[in-house]
């Protein structure tokens, strides 16, 4: 099934530059509907609107981390199917395993390139 390129994507990061980078890469890939949140708490509020088809989130944020956001999303009946990609500098084995066990769909270690982001998007939402 073809990927809906008009899908709504929520990028969550407390570092504005990283949001800008991801937004530009997504734009290059053809995704124009990108919103942003600066931490897990703000993201959760936006997600409860029900309009988002994909979350791309950093891990290390305050007051709510990306890991906490992931667990909240997976515990919410209305949100638990939302694909979730973690993009983070947290590269310890325990982080990757914990995220996977919490239900993350894919995991990208910073710094990353456009090819890596595209490959993970394809593996999570399908080819486009």
């Amino acid at each position: 099934m073809a990927v809906d390129m008009s899908m709504n994507i929520l990028v969550v990061d407390d570092y504005q530059t990283m949001i800008r980078i991801i937004r530009n890469l997504l734009k290059q890939l053809g995704f124009e509907n990108v919103d942003e949140a600066k931490d897990g708490q703000e993201a959760l509020g936006l997600l409860r609107s029900g309009k988002y088809n994909l979350v791309i989130s950093d891990w290390n944020m305050e007051p709510m981390t990306g890991f906490e956001l992931l667990k909240h999303v997976r515990a919410d009946d209305k949100l638990k199917r939302t694909p979730f990609i973690m993009v983070t500098a947290e590269s310890k084995t325990e982080n990757v395993i914990a995220a996977k066990q919490a239900g993350v769909n894919n995991y990208i270690v910073k710094p990353f390139n456009a090819q890596t982001l595209k490959a993970k998007l394809v593996s999570v939402i399908g080819d486009f």
């Binding site: 800008r20 981390t65 638990k80 199917r81 593996s123």
Partner: protein
């Protein structure tokens, strides 16, 4: 009353009794024994005074040496000059880096949004590239600033290490703070020093080998209802092993 004065008083009392021309031999014997006891006590108090004096001298010397070591740490210089300066240098590094990143990204975004068909496209791109090169000069300045901060940390490290050595200090067991406990619980480890600890390839292997979410999962609106939510997935030992392969 100080011990030497007590001894003198007892001695005077004994001498006075001896001068009284006592007839009872038992009383004379008691007086002799008392005199010996006074002599023994006198030498005992004398040695005790010398020991106490020696201990006090040692403590005074220790305090003086500690004061000297603390002065050598130059705590006021650290607090009022070196540490604030290091903080200011790091703030400047953050600002320089942010400014440069903003300039570079703005130039790249301008190029991306420019129509290549426009006649001035090549010149426009050339100008933006020059802006990017100029912005990259921040690296030289931030490198110098970071070196200053490293020098300050080394200065503190050397002095604290010397102080701990001289004082014979050992690391005490301390309870983790609330912030430290939270960071540990939420796995907030931060970036690894020498690049990612687990490489992207190993992570990809983990996500390729297992889990319903690893390949081609549709967005929520397209996901089949029977599909288990990703939270049901768990890592097998093979997945974990793949991380270390």
């Amino acid at each position: 009353m100080p011990s030497p004065e007590v001894v003198l008083k007892v001695r005077d009392a004994l001498a006075s009794l001896q001068r009284a021309d006592l007839k009872d031999p038992r009383l004379i014997e008691v007086l002799n024994l008392s005199e010996q006891l006074v002599e023994a006590m006198n030498s005992f108090f004398g040695s005790m005074d010398r020991n106490v004096y020696g201990e006090l001298r040692y403590i005074a010397a220790y305090i003086a040496r500690t004061r000297g070591e603390i002065s050598a740490l130059r705590p006021n210089d650290l607090r009022e000059s070196r540490i604030p300066q290091a903080g200011a240098e790091l703030d400047a590094v953050v600002k320089n880096t942010e400014d440069a990143t903003h300039t570079i990204m703005s130039a790249a975004e301008a190029v991306m949004s420019k129509d290549p068909g426009e006649p001035d496209f090549a010149a426009f791109v050339n100008d933006r590239m020059l802006e990017i090169f100029e912005a990259c000069s921040f690296q030289d300045i931030t490198g110098q600033r970071v070196r200053k901060v490293v020098d300050t940390l080394r200065h503190i490290e050397e002095r604290v290490a010397r102080f701990a050595h001289v004082m014979g200090a050992q690391d005490a067991q301390v309870e983790p703070t609330e912030d430290e406990r939270r960071k540990k619980a939420l796995l907030l480890n931060g970036p690894s020093l020498n690049g990612p600890e687990v490489k992207q390839d190993a992570i990809d292997a983990l996500f390729t080998k297992s889990g319903p979410q690893s390949s081609g999962q549709a967005p929520p609106s397209q996901a089949p209802p029977s599909q288990a939510p990703p939270s049901q997935a768990s890592s097998s030992q093979g997945d974990i092993d793949a991380l270390f392969a």
